[in-house]
Symmetry: C2
Amino acid sequence: MSLIVVGSMAFDMIETPFGKSDRIIGGAATYIAWAAQNFVKPIRQISVVGGDFPKEELDALRAQGVELEGVQIKSDRPSFFWSGKYHMDMNTRDTLVTELNVLGDFEPVVPESYQGAELLMLGNLAPSVQLSVISQLKTRPRLVVADTMNFWMESAWDELLQVLKQVDVLLINDAEARQLSGEYSLVKAARKIAEMGPRFLVIKKGEHGALLFHENHVFFAPALPLEEVFDPTGAGDTFAGGFIGHLARTRDISFDNMKSAIIIGSAMASFCVEKFGIQRLREIDQEDIENRIRQFIDLVNFDIDLIG
Amino acid sequence: MSLIVVGSMAFDMIETPFGKSDRIIGGAATYIAWAAQNFVKPIRQISVVGGDFPKEELDALRAQGVELEGVQIKSDRPSFFWSGKYHMDMNTRDTLVTELNVLGDFEPVVPESYQGAELLMLGNLAPSVQLSVISQLKTRPRLVVADTMNFWMESAWDELLQVLKQVDVLLINDAEARQLSGEYSLVKAARKIAEMGPRFLVIKKGEHGALLFHENHVFFAPALPLEEVFDPTGAGDTFAGGFIGHLARTRDISFDNMKSAIIIGSAMASFCVEKFGIQRLREIDQEDIENRIRQFIDLVNFDIDLIG
């Protein structure tokens, strides 16, 4: 199924207990595209970068089937820049620097060639930008998936609620689910969030896996137990990329297939955290991915004889 | 397979964000026995209580096939008493009161009728007591399972290490695994703990499920997403009871069957947390358990077509 990805493309500078990165390539849409291109081509990207964004990075994405007609290049301005530092447990981080730069006044334009897309993946970005993209689409995609972050809950609550009404699948982390719903129990949170619009809700719990809620059904996918989480940056975006990539490849948006999509998303995220930035995602091939998925199958597979 | 359970039988007083219990029945061996008796009878209990421990509680256990010949009754002294208060997230708690009472100088005596047991379940208790039980057994059980708590890491490190050398399966929580190994990564922690003795390691992560490590294999079982965790007290012991009960019933101590045992343990623990103390465990029947296990199967079951 044809896929539009909307999100930031950016520079990151990351500090973890294991080391410090240079100024490296990041951004939600970058991670999503690198993960999803393993499963579906083309990917129609919508984003904005500054004149400092390396041409070779754009070429590398293009070579993987990522169409960049919807990526605006503002040559006289700098790209979005984020810098953060992770704590020892890697589940919490401090933002050191956020420079919105070209992202601050981004007005997305959906190219004519992108029209008719069946899947829309809204990566973490201002809700107003997400709404603008939705409103520019002449036909509603079969499935709208959104990945959010608490930043927008604090600064753009009303617009966020408008986006949620348009969204079929919402991907958020556990803290966001609690903040969005005001409920501590994730089961209760899921019920409240369903009332806000999304028919499917994925709650990402980092090293503790992910939950998929739909009507009265719930599915759980573990994260792969890893020796080290080297750098968690982009793991959520990569999860989203694997998730949407699998749906696009299989052309199946049923609950059952979303279970598989979450396993694929978890597998992709498990690669992402092995090195800084998108480095590991650029190295892996189909065989690596299949082997990793087999590890997930082994991880949760069991046979049980009921007592009776 | 014949089963000996060693552990405390006690009084608890519990405060959670949802309410406050009276002085209720608790203790590791109590929870283990109530969970395990659904799967195997008899259970040969080793513990100590004071004169204040209600006769009807002992009778209730006896009626479920729990043999109490190894439970000493010190009529002129009080039972072990613990009181604690849970925080909002239910994953952390403060101990308010610990009165060891009869447990402080407990010298277990293994009755002759208990000899020849194939399974030994060492519930949370002083390592010296655990060692004493092991040394009194004339033939080594086929499988020794131990459940520990950080309390003994602080006060009886050397004896704890001696116990670990005798243990085949160790059940601990994530914080204990980190403390015991000095490793933050649970994968690394598992490797170090294997060198201390246990061939199988189960790391319990509460609401985040449980991991089973054995050689280079790893298996993950989720916790059931619940609306409310009403009282987590005894959930770990109940998990242990379901785990050992399943192994005893099926007479199979392979890695594959331990996967099932962990699912059963998780299912039993999911009942435990629904009410104060052992209340919920006393209510449920085989049908409740089977239905709960089916929920676990639905929770993690997926079909995936590999890409190639």
